[in-house]
Structures are given as C-alpha cells and as structure tokens.
Amino acid sequence: MLRLELRPQASRTMTFVAPLLAIAATVAAGGVLFAALGFAPLPALATFFLSPLGDLYGVTEWLLKATPLAIIACALALGFRGNVWNIGAEGQLIAGAIAAGGTALALYEVSGLWVLPTVLLAGVVGGAAWAAIPALLRIRFHANEILTSLMLNYVAVLLLAWLVHGPWRSPEGYNFPETRMFTDSALMPLLVEGMRLHVGVLFAPLVAVVAWVILSRSFLGFQIKVIGMTPAAGSYAGFGPNRVIAFTLMFGGGMAGLAGAMEITGPIGQLVPTVSPGYGYTAIIAAFLGRLHPIGILLAALLLALTYMGGDAAQIALGVPLAVTQVFQGMILFFLLAADVLIRYRVRLSLPHGARR
C-alpha cells in the first residue's frame, strides 16, 4: 500500500517538479485519449502541441492568446495567495470589454493619440467595478466571493448579448449582433505587419513585474501573504482581511478588464456576443500551474495558450471536437493537483502489518 507521510517542511524542489510532472502526465494521457479515438498517438500529439507553432503566423497567434491569460493570471494569483477566490475573471473581462467598447463607440471617428489609452483605461475601470461587487458583498455582508463572482460571469455574458443585440447594434451591420467596427485611433497598433499580434503583448511582462513588486516589495503584499497563511494572524498583527479582499478582487478585475479591452481593440475590432474563449477560467489554471509566481505564470500562460491553438489544429486536421482544448486544460489542472501532493508529503511504500517488525 502507498502511504502519505507528512514532510517536516514543504519541499521546494517538488514545487518546481510538480508542474513538469503534471505536463508530462497530461501529454501521456492526451496520447491515450487520441489512441482511444483511433489516431496514432504520437502524430496526433505533434498535431496538437507542435504543428501550431510551425510558422511566424502561428508564433504570433500563440503570443496573442498567451497575453490575456498571463495578465489575468498574474493578478488572480495575488488573490489566491491571500485566500480570496475570485473566479469571476471571465465576467470581469467581459465587463472591461463592454466599458472599453462603449468608450470606443462614443469616440467613433475621433482621432488622437489619447483615444486608445482612454479606451483601455475604461476597460480597466469596467473590470475593476465589476469585481468591486463581490468585494463589497464579501466585506459588507460576508457573502462568499466564489459564488457571487461566478454568478456575475453569467450576468456579464447576458449584458453583452443584450447590448450587441439591442442598443449598441451596428446600424450598418445587416442585423448581425455586433457593434460597428472601431475606428483606427481606438485599435491596438500591430507589432508585426500582416499579423494580428499587437503591442498589448508587452503588457504581460509589465503586469508580471507589477504583481511581483506588489507581492515581494510592498506592505500590501506582506498582508496578502500573512492572511493567506493564517487568516487570524492578520488580526493579531493589527490588520483585517478587508483591504486584501478589496485590493485583490479589484486588481484581478482591473487586469481582466484590460485583457477584455485589448481583445476587442486588438484581434476582434468590435463588440460581438463572444469576446473570450474562456480566458477568465483558463487563467485560474495558469495561476496554479505557474505556482502563483509571475515568472511561472508567464510560462504557464504560454503552455495554456498552446492548448487553444492545439484544439484548433486538432479540429481541422483530425476532426475532433474543439472542446478537446478544455479537456487538456482540465487534465493539466487535475494532474497538477495530484502532483502537488509531493510538495507536502512523501509517498512511502508501506508493508502490510504482518511484515512489519
């Protein structure tokens, strides 16, 4: 029988080994999945993980998809460290897109270098405001932020659907549920001519640095870590959890809102009913896979962005459903949670009672 033995101290080595084990196990399980579907596992895995990065277009799309994941996950990680479970990033992303989109429409055909920063700022404010709701409900009424932030995801989806079907629908859009295309001054400048990758990709390392500074170099970061380890310790040290709750939720919301604003002013160029393929949920996985550390998260975001590309590639080349992306993402998180046991426990082979002396 396998037995778990508590380590005297959490293993630092295993903290870094566990994600690698999880990725290896996911690739292996993915091979089994493809084999079960009747494909040769190795070529199918190559289609999923390698073929999307075969040319410059693939690489630029990869970075484009990793950007929102990294930005959101870096911010969410601060909350997760402080035991604040914001799982409403998807709704906050949409709220940011709505605020940014509304601003871009209000500034339709207005030119000026200030237009785009205004639009992006509106996105940040929109996302933070959306996240302020669960923060307020948690602080003022002790309502569980997991459930309230999640409920608001559904509300945000419906709000966006209402806007693009109704009041904001494009007058020249042949009744399609979409707004006008934003004008040039409200669009992200492209980084590589002819590709969709835009300058917003630079926000990913920037937000990572900001998150790192907050966590490692500020009193707020210290408070987050203390409350995350032992919620009661904060009150002995003279601070309650409210500041941490409010900050981490609204920072997460603000960054999700920024990501939403950059999606609609970048690759999409207008508001449509679906502005995200679930980046807000996937970012949760990126945060855990990246060990809640900004550098780890940047790497994890790249890997998870690859699962979106792999899903597309597998759908085209192998004809498997696009949901294969979510299956891989779910497997990564499962294997990671399983591998994490090695951080706090030693796995020992224990002999049956009779064999022991």
Binding site: L4, E5, L6, W85, I87, L137, F141, H142, A143, N144, I146, L147, T148, L150, M151, L152, Y154, V155, L158, L159, A161, W162, H165, G166, Y281, I284, I285, F288, V320, P321, A323, V324, T325, Q326, V327, Q329, G330, M331, L333, F334, L337, A338, D340, V341, R344, Y345
Partner: protein
Amino acid sequence: MSEAELATLAAILAAMIRAATPLVFAALGELVTERAGVLNLGLEGMMLMGAVAAFGTAHAGAGHGAAMAAGAAAGVGMSLLFAFLALGLRANQVACGLALSIFGVGLSAFVGKSLVGTPIAALPALPIPLLSEIPVLGPALFSHDILVYASILAVPAISWFLFRTRAGLVLRAVGENHDAAHDIGYGVLKVRTLAVMFGGAMAGLAGAYLSLAYTPMWVENMSSGRGWIALALVVFATWVPVRALMGAYLFGGVTILQLHAQNWGVPVSAQILAMLPYLATIVVLVLISRDETKIKLNAPACLGKVFHSGR
C-alpha cells in the same frame, strides 16, 4: 377565478416544479457532501457529465431507466475523481472542485459533440391515479415524471437519514469534528468518500433530468450555472434539506417568471430577464450571509478542511 385562469395557475406551478427539480437534486446531494465536511465545487461538471451520459444512453436506445442510471453513474465517476484528489491526496478542496467543473464542461462537450441536435423520447409523465384529478393541484403536483417525484421524496428520506439514523449521526460527526470522529474510531475518509459519491450521483441525476425531461436534448453547457446556483442554495438552506427544497422552488419560480414575463407583455428584453436567476442567487446569498453567526452556527465546522489521520 375562471376555469382558464385556474388552468394557467396549475400550468405555472407545474412549470415551476420542473424548473426547480435539477436544483433540488444537486442541492440535496451537495448538502449531504457538505454535512460530511467536504466542499465539492464541481457540481456543474458532474451535472453536465450526468446530462450527456443520460442523453447518450437514451439516444442509443437503452430506455429511460438505464439512461437515469447512466447519468447517476457518470456523476459518481466524476465525484470519485474529486474524492481521489481532495480526500486521497489531500489537495485543496476549492481547487479540486474548480478543476472538476472546468474538466466536466470540456469533457461533456467533447464526448457529446455527435449528440448535438439529435432527438430522444422525453421521460414520460406518470400521473398519479386519483390525485392527479384534483383540480389545480392535480395537474400542478401529481402529473410529473418519476424524477420529479423522486426529488421530492428525497427530502424526507435525507432528513430522516441525517437526523434519525446512526449512520447520519456519524456523517454529521465527521463533518463537525473529524479529529474527534477519528479518535472514536470512525473511518473519516470512508464516510467522506461515500458522501462525495452520493453528491455525485445526485448531481448526475440533476443532469439526467435536464437532458431527459426538462429539455430532452443535449446542448453544450446546458446546465448554464445551475450547479453553482445549487451550491448557493445549500448555504441559503443553512444545511437543512427541507429548506433546500423551498429554496429550489423559489428559484424555479424566478426562472418561470423570467420565461413568462415576455408573454405577459413586460417590456424588458429576453437577455435582461435571463439575468434574474443569477441576480436572485446573489441577493439570496447576501440576505443569508448578512448574519454571520447564523452561518457559523449551522455550517459543518470542518467544512473544506483537510483531514490528517496521522497527526
């Protein structure tokens, strides 16, 4: 009231009960799981796997009994995944539950791709003789399918189990103080695993009801947040089964209100009305959570805490 008005009233009541039934199943299952001290946030994923398994089984021509069993079994299968990680490997329960939901949404869409748009025969109604002929109450309460009756009967059954049997006492003891329960000699992990499996079976049945009876078809993500609403209902019910039923019916009412409001000429767009159940969930959570002591008194004391047997 005229006869037509009475008939409308009966139809609305019946629709409310139907809308509430998946919530009743899922909330009751989670209630038992949480009473044993385990917080499983994976309801949404278990429900969707239950829905797709039940639908696929019915679509293959296996009959409704087998379809319901397949739904429950799929829920149990998913719950075992959770139990292995959260109980066996002592991983964080919140993270495991989230993983189960994310994985279930993806896996159900993946395996159900070929079932989209295919028809099945809906679960038939079984009017109860005599009772179903009572005016208003008959069509409202006694002309449903077997899963609706089962969901209602589950309430007294679970109440009896939790508060009147020895096994129920042990389950609650494990949820209140796992160290004491362990010291007395109860198998904490065994009790919790069984409670998680029960929660999985009930969530699977909730999904089966959606895809076999409520809207007899398979659509990606068709539970649309009901798993999360059920989680909120458990808090709203302060972990008491009969209150979970009442809460679910309240939500059924909100859902039906939203569907009928447009027919009644309320000048609000469909998308705004569709927000109602989610907003109602938030309002209900706020109302019940305002009183912190009420939650603290009623919540199982070890809810969500990791149990180390070898302290």
